[in-house]
Symmetry: C2
Subunit: 614 residues, 2 copies
């Protein structure tokens, strides 16, 4: 595996990516959502960036959609250009959508730069014989005069104060964390930094931020190493129940990985890691428990009671993080057993709680989480969509990896596919699966009940090339051939696969519908639908609405907000106002246990169907 360094401007975000990764996905991984309406399938031509080196030659799509002038300026379509070497990619301002605005501009716009941890410069009077004088208490008084009242302290700060005060002629910098004195330094000491981290079940994303300017200094991504003990949260909990020391292991693994990410980010930004004074973390409830080494076993069985909602503000040293010895870790609060701190992070950077109109936020993944509401009331729910989006229980399913069919579209009467890395297809990942099902449904090959029609039942509008893809089975059902692998074998979309997709999308749709019922709103009243999460950002808004995963809202009301959970962690790291908002949300957002509602079954079965409105 060869990794290439890619620098995205103007945000100065850097990542390392495998050969064949397209620029749009790479940007997404760093939290930059490049605007497009086709979600990367290569039909809208909107995801333009500027880049000259380290990329695959112009694709057929780019040759069609880019003007001669575009091409002469090094413009590429980010969904088409694949990374082949080190690359600098300029993302035009206009091309960065909401998601990135939250993280770069929105953050500053909504929240003042006002982190918990800050530097305060003070000049103390020098001690005299005739007056009561204690170094720490004088410092305390001087800080109070600068409106930085401290009533707690890290003992090491008190210990360091006498020498620093005298070496610096009683003019020093104090690092103040809320109302606690964290360190006393010469006024010439280096800057202050913080790390925001989103601990996902599958991936971990982090940013190193300058607490004094709000600037992003480095970005890091990694796989969650706990994957070795189970792909999903329940199997990891099971592991900890069955293995003595399992919880300790889960905890150590994630801390070690984050420590390693911090090391790489510090290296990149040329910052000493002990200048990091705060880590702010988001993650689902189980990831939060593992991070804090709290046993989440009761989340795995009814009534699914977690040990801890949070927020937690704990010593970084105590958790094993290698940052400033007085540094701390803040973990955002969860909303409910399966609506974790990551969703609190998303809501922190959305302004749903400040709006008169109804807004919907959805995180689509193995578990779907949804929040609906407005200023007057917000409710959340979760719904287990299952691992279909990750390729499990799908005949040719696979994770979003090299060779996976990630995009599919019927063009000129037949199916066109695109794979990750642009190589020969080896399977189908979540976004490809949804594309395939939606395309064949829109074409009339799949009926509103989800049945793949037999050849003789197909509407006349179905083009011959599609008809030829039908493979009738002895059981009376039909499968669809997607791509030939060799003489004997084809990648298939089976009837059973369609059923799995129906179950998965119905889970999400049911969660949303139950919340709509709870608040007594219909789709027309929903002003925006914000889609968060890695998988969500690979879904086309049109697909999501057409297949009934989302309620029937106009496509333009659907927006993709990228890793808004991480953006939430960043906001909380940089602004006390954001932190207060997150904590307020954790108290105020109500929870609806959809499975306990009497009409749950009805809504679920009904949501299995494809909306009959094409």
């Amino acid at each position: 595996m060869t990794l290439h360094k890619v620098l995205f401007l103007p945000g100065k975000k850097t990542g390392h990516f495998e050969t064949g990764t397209n620029l749009r996905d790479a940007a997404l991984e760093l939290g930059i959502v490049i605007e497009s309406t086709c979600a990367g399938i290569g039909t809208c031509g909107k995801c333009k960036v500027q880049a000259h080196e380290g990329l695959s030659p112009l694709s057929r799509v780019e040759e069609e959609l880019l003007s001669a002038r575009d091409r002469s300026r090094g413009t590429r379509l980010s969904c088409q250009a694949q990374i082949t070497g080190p690359c600098v990619c300029v993302v035009p301002e206009g091309s960065q959508t909401f998601g990135d605005q939250i993280m770069v501009e929105g953050r500053r716009g909504h929240f003042p730069l006002d982190p918990d941890v800050r530097k305060v410069s003070v000049q103390l009077p020098e001690p005299t014989l005739s007056e009561k004088y204690f170094d720490f208490e004088q410092l305390q008084d001087a800080l109070a005069r600068q409106h930085a009242r401290v009533d707690r302290f890290d003992l090491d700060a008190v210990r360091a104060a006498p020498a620093v005060l005298r070496d610096s002629k009683f003019g020093v910098s104090a690092i103040v964390d809320g109302q606690a004195l964290l360190a006393v330094e010469p006024p010439t000491a280096a800057g202050l930094f913080g790390v925001a981290v989103d601990v996902g079940t599958t991936t971990v994303a982090a940013k190193l931020l300058d607490l004094q300017t709000g600037e992003t200094r480095a970005i890091g991504t990694a796989l969650n190493p706990q994957k070795a003990q189970g792909a999903d949260v329940i199997s990891r909990i099971q592991y900890t129940i069955e293995h003595p020391g399992g919880l300790e292991l889960m905890h150590r693994m994630i801390v070690k990985e984050i420590n390693a990410m911090i090391g790489l980010m510090c290296e990149e930004a040329a910052i000493a890691r002990n200048r990091i004074v705060r880590i702010v973390a988001v993650g689902n409830t189980v990831m939060q428990h593992f991070l804090l080494k709290i046993d989440p076993r009761n989340v795995a069985s009814k009534p699914y009671a977690p040990a801890f909602q949070g927020p937690a503000l704990v010593s970084a040293r105590e958790l094993g993080f290698d940052i400033h010895p007085g540094g701390s870790v803040y973990v955002l609060p969860n909303l409910a057993s399966f609506v974790g701190a990551d969703i609190t992070g998303v809501l922190t950077v959305l302004d749903i709680d400040d709006k008169d109109a109804i807004h919907l936020a959805v995180d689509i993944g193995t578990n779907g989480e949804m929040v609906l509401g407005s200023r007057s009331r917000m409710v959340c729910a979760s719904s287990p969509a299952g691992p279909a989006w990750e390729g499990a229980y799908i005949e040719w399913g696979m994770r979003a990896a090299r060779g996976a069919i990630e995009r599919a579209e019927i063009v000129d009467g037949d199916l066109q596919i695109r794979t990750i890395g642009g190589v020969e297809p080896v399977g189908i990942c979540g976004s490809g699966l949804l594309d395939l099902v939606c395309e064949f449904y829109r074409a009339g090959v799949i009926d509103p009940s989800g049945r793949i029609r037999a050849a003789d039942q197909l509407p006349g509008s179905v083009p011959p090339a599609l008809r030829r893809r039908l493979i009738p089975r002895e059981t009376g059902v039909n499968d669809i051939a997607i791509a030939r692998i060799d003489a004997d074998r084809s990648i298939l979309l089976t009837q059973k696969d369609v059923r799995e997709v129906q179950l998965a999308k119905s889970a999400i749709a049911t969660g949303i519908r139950m919340l709509m019922k709870e608040l007594n709103v219909d789709a027309g009243q929903i002003a925006t639908v914000s889609i968060a999460g890695a998988f969500g950002n690979h879904v086309r808004g049109k697909d999501a609405v057409d297949c009934g995963l989302l309620p029937p809202v106009p496509e333009e009301r659907v927006r993709f907000i990228g890793n808004a959970a991480l953006a939430g962690a960043e906001a909380v790291l940089l602004s006390r106002q954001a932190r207060e908002k997150a904590e307020r949300l954790s108290r105020d957002v109500g929870y609806v246990e959809i499975s306990e509602k009497p009409d749950f079954q009805d809504v679920f079965v009904n949501s299995m169907l494809f909306p009959d409105r094409l």
Copy 2:
């Protein structure tokens, strides 16, 4: 060295003492001040106790002062009875003076039993599927309903909660420390304990207290092991300056010693040491710095600025104390550079700040500390008395150890002495020194300027036996023979020794006088003089007034309050009100730097004289 266990009733205080220690001194070491007006010289006959075994035979003094009935009931004079074996000693209620009342009754009288750390029993609702339920937050709610709001937590308590809640059917005991949750336990868990400790430069005294009843469960005393690095605070600071790692060593030594004392006390009380959740410590400023591992070097040179006033509330684990892992150490605040947390402790159990009349508190030692005032204003000062009280720079001086002359009185025309342990004299300790100087002054052998009169200048009233003790020197001065050691040598009180005593007592007297000037009060206005500290409790009130160490107040206004510093630590351990009082005092008590006052020299020289009023 043989140690004998002595149990004092009714307070159930136990200590181990060397053969020959008199019961009164043993009691004093455990904080029990047995009433007497002769301060242990054996003339008042008031210090009666009941004890049958493990003691020396009746002394001549006892035979004179005890009635036949007294003797038949096992009554002894505690200043006379020397320990020779294991002993149970009953101190009559009436015989326990102020000092002990503070520690046992006064504490309960003045302050409600309301420690920072307490147990709260709660019953939680059981989780249900349909409601938001997080173990910790439910516990938080249940505690709030019991008026125990917690907004912080020890992470281990959060970690333990899920299993304990389920094992105990959601009815548990929470250990709450202020507003922090420290532990969650089954309702059947053991009691809660705390340790009060007075870290003296020379000795360390500690008590193990039951936080739920206020009861004393064990008492411990030890020498401060830092003595190996210097007898006084300045030489210990010097050691830490000259030796890398010296501060760390001082810190580790004292923590190790206190840990050992805790171990012994826990053994005696049959308590697991992890049931101790709070240590409250007092000590002078330098001892406080060493305990917290804060460099006190700036206390050793002008302008004597300590690093830290306090109070400090820090993790016991962080300081290396082996108690409950979530336990904490609270160190009382200092008042000034040389008026430490021990004096704050003393003031906490005195009620000077609550009185309309003027009261004086004095701690007499190598350093003298004095506080004068009333409800309206309190001021403190310190004055370096020097080590004369410890026998340094005194021709035959020695510490208060076996063989030291600790008492002297002119009886029937000649000097009678008493030594520690009742053995042959080998030197003179502080209390003996003051006795000798005062007796010879009252007898007219020493004149008001401190000069030992020549034989031909002695008043006619001086009995012949005393006259024969004068030893004229070639330099024109006279020394006084105190006790013959062998054919050639006698223990002497030299003219130079008298001068040393004058310097030492003048230092204390000057401090007191400067405070009286500051508040513009004369001796007649002083309602009580409370003498604290180990040495102070060996001084006779009459001596202290006669020699001018104390202002001329009637003898009955002088009271000895024993180790009131430790009593202050106990009060703070057992009552939030006491803690608040200590913190208020540290802010409110003003400091007077006596050496900076223009009339300091005049007052000092004047205080050297013996008051000419006999």
